[in-house]
Amino acid sequence: MDSEILRLAEPAPKVSAPPVASSDAELVAFYRRHRLSLVRFAVLLLGDQETAEDVVQDVFTRLHGKWRPGVTTIAYVRTCVLNGSRSILRRRAVVLRRVEPVAGLADSAETAALIGESRREVLLALARLPRRQREALVMRYYLDLSDAEIAEVMRVRQSTVRSMTARALARLLRELGDNA
């Protein structure tokens, strides 16, 4: 359905050619501009890069022919990436019959060497958070989104975003407080 009820999170990209003819060109431009940041967003949600890239590619596969200037915003595409990541995590939980901390975020030796011990501790704690709390933190502190924008991507109320963020921070502080 193309009648997504979405408010504009940011101004629609400027269109000079008629929208029908240019929709594919626009999708290509959008993809070039946002792909890397979307993959990085998905990595922070999912842990490993390969799966994150697959989720983003899959979202763009589905966007063909559905490009609507002003409707297909970055907020909408982030929601798609978020949903794709959630499906993956849920599938993993079903297979494992329990919710595992997000693997790959900071547990490989390679990552540890690149980012250092202190950051690694933070990421490991992040990986142990409940999924929605982690999502809220990633959008707040990595994407720098406002409560309103996070609420739009997650499709929850702003008050919910605020309480999730507060609970997540309190928990991280408890876990990391000693060596902060």
Partner: protein
């Protein structure tokens, strides 16, 4: 001392930085399904629904006596013309499913279920399918199987809510959440079943990628 917020910002930025740009091109569009194979596809879906539902229910309750009602339920979960939905089947008296042990769905459970479904952001709209509609659909789909039709009656048919899912939204989350509400016997994610039907479903199953498409009720 760094605040926890600064540490988060810094750690996430550093982790994200590791992900380099590999210049993958824009993926090609997903191939559209041809309309010619429609009938075969629906038949495959019917089969898959019954197999998954039976499999799940067998695991949960090894009681052989009233499998007919489960078959009826799963067979009536076929794809409607308006696109895939999440079908949420309601408990009726005598259902052999553990979550329906207390009898049929009560009025307040039904209202609660409807409210919860309507409140989900993924759901575009819901409709109710009563026993008679389920029976009519079932009969239409199985006109060529008189023996099956003779074994069934309208009272074997479960009532259900059918939730239309927004494009791009997570239908599996809706199916799973619905199964956790009291008075639900089974919920089925039809988009998932289509995704996992042959030929891709076979490949996915071989690779161990099969997804869970149906969720039995969690009880009261």
């Amino acid at each position: 001392m760094n605040s926890i917020e600064e540490r988060l910002r810094d750690a996430m930025a550093a982790r994200a930085e590791i992900v380099g740009d590999d210049d993958r091109p824009l993926p090609a569009p997903r191939p559209r399904r041809s309309s010619g194979g429609g009938l075969v596809r629906v038949a495959a879906v019917v089969l898959t629904v019954s197999v998954t539902a039976l499999g799940v229910v067998r695991l949960a309750a090894p009681s052989p006596e009233s499998q007919e009602s489960i078959v009826a339920m799963s067979l009536s979960g076929t794809v409607p013309s308006g696109g895939p939905e999440v079908s949420v089947f309601l408990c009726k008296d005598g259902d052999p499913i553990p979550s329906c042990a207390g009898g049929g769905i009560t009025r307040s459970e039904r209202m609660n279920l409807q409210r919860e479904l309507e409140a989900r952001p993924e759901v575009e709209g819901i409709r109710f399918e009563d026993r008679q509609q389920a029976w009519d659909n079932f009969r239409r789909q199985h006109e060529d199987d008189p023996q099956l039709l003779k074994a069934m009656t309208p009272t074997d048919m479960p009532e259900s809510f059918r939730a239309r899912i927004r494009a791009g939204a997570d239908s599996s989350a809706v199916a799973q959440a619905a199964s956790e509400l009291p008075g639900v016997s089974l919920s089925v994610d039809q988009a998932c079943i289509i995704d996992n039907s042959p030929p891709w479903g076979i490949v996915k199953r071989l690779l161990g990628w099969s997804e869970q498409c149906s969720f039995t009720g969690e009880g009261r």
